[in-house]
């Protein structure tokens, strides 16, 4: 019986010592930013609408992991002080909402909060092939602030 307990004790020490192995720094993956370089495949410059001061470029591409992102470059700006501006991929330069049918012409990517470089992860499983434009939309008021073609 003592031998059995001794064996268990040694095994326990072995486990504890294993858990004390030097842990490697965890690899943090930020799903909101591309991994590695972003290979831009389609891009275009923003056209301002309604005096919002929209400018900069939007580009759609994939990172080194094959994940798709929309990128606004460092020159990006729009009217951000008043209300939430939401970014959409769209099948045209006009915002064509059709909520009753699931908004087939729009893919919401989320709000943009800051000027300068921004990344928006394309939702997993979504295809961007049919979308030809990026739209900046102020939903509270219901007006566009700008659009950029994806050429």
């Amino acid at each position: 019986m003592k031998k059995v307990l001794f064996i268990f004790y040694i095994a326990f020490l072995g486990l504890v010592s294993c858990s004390d192995d030097k842990e490697k720094d965890p690899v943090v993956i930020d799903p909101t930013r591309p991994t590695g370089a972003l290979n831009i495949l389609r891009s275009g410059s923003f056209t301002d609408q309604n005096g919002a001061g929209s400018r900069g470029m939007a580009g759609l591409g994939t990172d080194t992991q094959g994940k798709e992102f929309l990128r606004f470059d460092g020159a990006f700006n729009t009217a951000l002080a008043t209300g939430t501006v939401t970014v959409f991929l769209s099948t045209s330069m006009e915002f064509m909402a059709d909520p009753a049918n699931g908004n087939p012409n729009l893919l919401p990517l989320g709000p943009v909060r800051n000027a300068g470089e921004n990344f928006f992860a394309i939702p997993t499983g979504a295809s961007t092939a049919k979308y030809t434009h990026v739209i900046l939309w102020c939903g509270s008021v219901g007006v566009p602030f700008g659009f950029a073609p994806l050429n």
């Binding site: 309604n50 005096g51 919002a52 001061g53 009217a79 002080a81 008043t82 209300g83 939430t84 939401t86 989320g110 709000p111 102020c138 939903g139 509270s140 008021v141 219901g142 007006v143």
Partner: protein
């Protein structure tokens, strides 16, 4: 002659091009109160519009913006030549059809009015600082989703000063008067955003019917000194321009208490509408006038 006020959309861009309660929305005259005389009014104003004019003057159809306000306005004759005036939106309610309604105190406008001439041609100059005590940021949450909101402040957060020169006349044998004024609004900045100064012009005519009911009509214009091309902040009225017209009436209801009604709307014939929500504003008010007792 009652002095009434309306709400003015002076910001937003959306400009919403939003709207705030503006000092320009009430009349200006060349008269000052006699010493000890007073005029005190509480009014409720309602405005709702989905017609927004951009900085380029383009008309946009947006979600409906609604502003209601409860405003105190008072005049007091400190001396026969000096009148102290205060305008304070006690509460302003703002909201879009797609958002919740948010409310808050507005900015306090104090006006120091001095009669340069009183007898034959009433001529007055006034200096009116607007003190930003209202809520300069007030975010209304979208009712459509949980990530959108919009800033609908009840005050513009900016210190500015209106300087006004006004003159009036009254017919000796008829209850008819007229006033004309010109104003310059020196604007400063809010959080490093500078605003363009503004110029305002206005004319008012009034007539008393049957010795009881005063009716008036006003025409006013507001123009921006600088050519504002890009909206730096939609909700604070930078670059806002318009022509407005209004019609009002007041009737005595009990002793020195009067009921006032006013309707105001916007047009383009003096200055075209820019950075402005345009629609009619309805106002209902009660005012009290204290007169100096005479020995007559």
């Amino acid at each position: 002659m009652s002095i009434q006020k309306n709400s003015l959309f002076r910001s937003f861009w959306i400009g919403v091009g939003f709207t705030l309660i503006s000092a320009l929305s009430y009349g200006q005259s060349g008269w000052t109160k006699e010493k000890g005389e007073g005029f005190y009014q509480l009014s409720f104003n309602r405005f709702s519009s989905s017609d927004y004019y951009t900085l380029d003057g383009e008309l946009l159809n947006t979600n409906a913006f609604t502003q209601n306000s409860l405003v105190f306005y008072g005049e007091y004759g400190v001396t026969d030549r000096f009148t102290l005036i205060a305008n304070l939106p006690l509460q302003v309610w703002n909201g879009f059809s797609t958002t919740e309604t948010v409310n808050g105190l507005g900015d306090l406008r104090l006006e120091f009015k001095h009669a340069i001439l009183k007898k034959y041609l009433p001529l007055a100059i006034s200096v009116a600082p607007e003190i930003p005590i209202g809520r300069a940021n007030n975010f209304a949450q979208s009712t459509q989703n949980d990530f959108e909101s919009i800033n609908l402040p009840s005050g513009d957060g900016e210190f500015n000063v209106w300087t006004t020169l006004s003159t009036s006349f009254a017919l000796p044998n008829a209850p008819f008067y007229g006033s004309i004024f010109g104003s310059y609004n020196y604007r400063t900045q809010y959080e490093d955003i500078s605003f363009s100064d503004q110029i305002a012009l206005g004319v008012e005519l009034g007539y008393q019917i049957a010795g009881k009911v005063w009716v008036n009509g006003r025409l006013q214009g507001l123009s921006s000194v600088d050519d504002v091309r890009v909206v730096t902040d939609f909700v604070r009225g930078d670059g806002t321009e318009f022509t407005s017209y209004s019609f009002g009436a007041s009737v005595p209801v009990y002793k020195n208490f009067h009921l006032s009604l006013n309707y105001r709307n916007y047009a383009d014939f003096l200055f075209s509408r820019k950075n402005l929500y345009s629609a009619g504003t309805f106002s209902l008010g009660v005012f009290y006038q204290s007169k100096r007792k005479t020995n007559e």
